[in-house]
Symmetry: C2
Subunit: 432 residues, 2 copies
């Protein structure tokens, strides 16, 4: 990881509360907040792995300010990470706002030198991951994320774009290599080998970790997915679309933090959300007061998994059917009745392939959260190690099957059925 | 096509014989040529569609000079084409020379402003297409092109490169969109619809042209290939690797004119050469003095088709087995015996998929040469329209089957067998 140099441009400085207060005082945002700068309530709340996040509140309104640091916050300056990720986040947020209006935070100010994005304060919203740990149902979520996915993925693909603009997008995001490299290493490589970054619930999962390191079919499958991740610019993807990148109320959903955005495989975004729903599903054993108390919530989660894919598929197809601007499958070739029937079948086959990609990437995202460096609070907050390991082992079992036997899963119902079945199994754990 | 503006940078001027003489007189190349500039023999010989090509000979040596024009030479300034293609050609030639030394012309001088590449004079070499029309056997060709393909494709993929360098390559070639657009339009779109650029041997092939325009399965297949062409940066490809881009003697082979180079699907290059060999195979009916006189040459062509793929496959696999530098299928994951056996199977599956891509792209390259704007001299030089149409119709029959029923072709022998079979059929032509 140390290959990237710790570089900051002239004028960059790490902001603290007073630094941000001074900066905002000189911007037009000042009047938006109202009152005297000294009266503003500013706190740094970044609980993510990479950046500083400030919440700023004045008498009239508030906003959030996100500043990139020249290193990984979680690790410190021994792990440099380019500030340019803020540039890519800003570029992605702008395009997402264009294609999926109302589903990302509004941007109020962007300072490229400071790697600072000032955006809408989502005060009433909670991080979805936390809400799901608390067992909160989000009735609008499947509809909102399927809209977000269909809109952002379809509209940034050659199905909607002329080739020249599409290639401009590839060029625009090609430089976000350092962030892609994190994904390539931490998701697609390290969990499958002995690596210093890896950790898991030991000794309970030692057998599972070893089994996965020795599973040649799985290692071929993850490498095939890695190749696809590195060389499939199908659309501008969010790149880190887990339930920690979703902020919502029961009525409103926003997708945040697209700093990993680049032109990549569509299935990576869809798979990320499916994976995180499934991880939370298996984690419920650690969150319920009494056995079975969360069964209703479990049902909602799996219904949501099904709805995410099913709605996404419909919305993506609807957009495709209505669109004639893309250089892919040019409309001029499919005007006659035979052509349009064949194209309809072809669209179905495209979505079937995308479904397979989705499952593979979902599996990759599940495994890395259990054996790799970065874990999910859904599972981490379960204090009883045996219960946590049980949930984790079940997640690994489903993920392994999804990744190696992908073709056996013909529809999303097969996935939820497998999750339900595996949730009833007692995994063979290694006792201390 | 008219979207691109006719742009030339300050300092660019179209060279003529005297302009080139003056320019070279001021370069260190002068001493390489020897003698007095006035004594140099300079002729413009460009017979391609796009550029000026000068041959310059002095008492001591000679060279070729290729200058890009700001428009398509074949059409004139109504069809602008950016000079930057010279930049990409130079970049590609440099990398090809690095990976496949001795198989591309040496570069002596490059002038970015003039879009001028001065390179080795291949005085003893002929364009392969012309040699094949004359029935000349090139015993080294299959070995040379398979080396060129394996070396350039493998070494510019993530199988050999770290992801960051690989993405640098994607960025480096992302701007060559105008040349890609030519391919996207003329190969993957127009031959399958009514388009002003299209022409064919009429009325003989009218029925075939119509059949192809109404063939919904074929139009889905070509669109799937187009999508792959636009969004699969697997490796730096030559982008126009037909037998007119090959100059050779029976002992020496060089691959020229990579101005269409970009990060694309490997199968497009391999398919291009397979297609052009097959087109020449079918064209032999128009070149033989008496029926069957070229049977021996036909056999050599099909043996060469088989050898190109078979040798390529072996050489690509050899390189992969020996390489540990790529971020794809990282060596660290496959060190144990089970891992290495699984990886061996996986490599085979990778090559099997590449074979399918190769056949699809080969078919695309065959169809465009018969129904699209740019035809092959192999077929064009056949004066008898019925004989030419017979050869062309057979080419279309094979190409249609290769593109739609790709999966039925399990190995390259199945392709040559189909070519032999179809070469014995009498196509239903429309008589005048």
């Amino acid at each position: 990881m140390g290959a990237t140099k710790l570089y900051t441009p002239p004028g960059y400085r790490i902001l603290d509360v007073e630094g941000l207060r001074g900066l905002v005082s000189s911007l037009s945002l000042r009047s938006q907040l109202g009152g005297d700068p000294e009266s503003w309530d500013i706190v740094e709340v970044g609980d993510g792995n990479l950046n500083l996040v400030f919440l700023v509140k004045g008498p009239n309104s508030g906003f959030a300010a996100k500043q990139a640091l020249p290193y990984v916050r979680l690790v410190g300056d021994s792990w440099p990470l380019p500030l340019s990720r803020s540039h890519y986040e800003h570029a992605a947020l702008s395009r997402q706002a264009e294609h999926a209006p109302g589903l990302v935070p509004a941007i109020y100010h962007y300072d490229e030198t400071l790697a600072l994005i000032v955006m809408e304060l989502l005060d009433a919203h909670v991080i979805m991951r936390h809400g799901m740990i608390a067992g909160i149902v989000y009735p609008e979520f499947a509809d909102d994320i399927s809209t977000f996915l269909a809109a952002t993925l379809f509209n940034t693909s050659t199905l909607a774009m002329p080739a020249e603009d599409f290639k401009g997008l590839i060029e625009e995001f090609a430089g976000n290599t350092a962030l892609c490299k994190i994904t390539e290493d931490l998701i697609f490589t390290e969990p499958y080998m002995v690596a210093g970054n890896n950790r898991w619930t030991s000794p309970w999962l030692d057998g599972f970790a070893e089994m996965i390191r020795e599973d040649a079919d799985l290692k071929c499958a993850i490498s095939r997915l890695k190749l696809k991740f590195m060389g499939s610019p199908e659309a501008m993807i969010h790149g880190d679309l887990h339930t920690g990148s979703v902020m919502l109320t029961p009525e409103d959903t926003r997708f945040i933090d697209p700093e990993f955005a680049f032109m990549g495989p569509m299935g990576f975004d869809i798979g990320a959300i499916v994976a995180n729903l499934l991880l939370n599903y298996f984690s419920q054993i650690g969150h319920e007061e009494t056995a079975g108390a969360r069964d209703g919530y479990r049902t909602w989660i799996l219904e949501t998994v099904e709805a995410v894919w099913t709605l996404f598929r419909c919305k993506f197809l609807d957009r495709w059917e209505a669109c004639e601007s893309g250089d892919g499958y040019p409309a001029a070739l499919f005007g006659d009745p035979f052509g349009s029937a064949a194209l309809a079948r072809e669209r179905g086959a495209f979505l079937d392939r995308l479904f397979q990609d989705t499952l593979g990437f979902a599996a990759a995202k599940m495994i890395r959260r259990i054996l790799g460096i970065a874990h999910n609070i859904d599972l981490e907050c379960i204090e009883d190690a045996e219960i946590r390991a049980t949930a984790e082992a079940r997640s690994l079992m489903l993920a392994r099957d999804l990744m190696v036997n992908t073709e056996c899963y013909r529809d999303i119902q097969a996935v939820s059925a497998a999750a339900r079945r595996i949730n009833g199994l007692a995994p063979a754990l290694r006792r201390p």
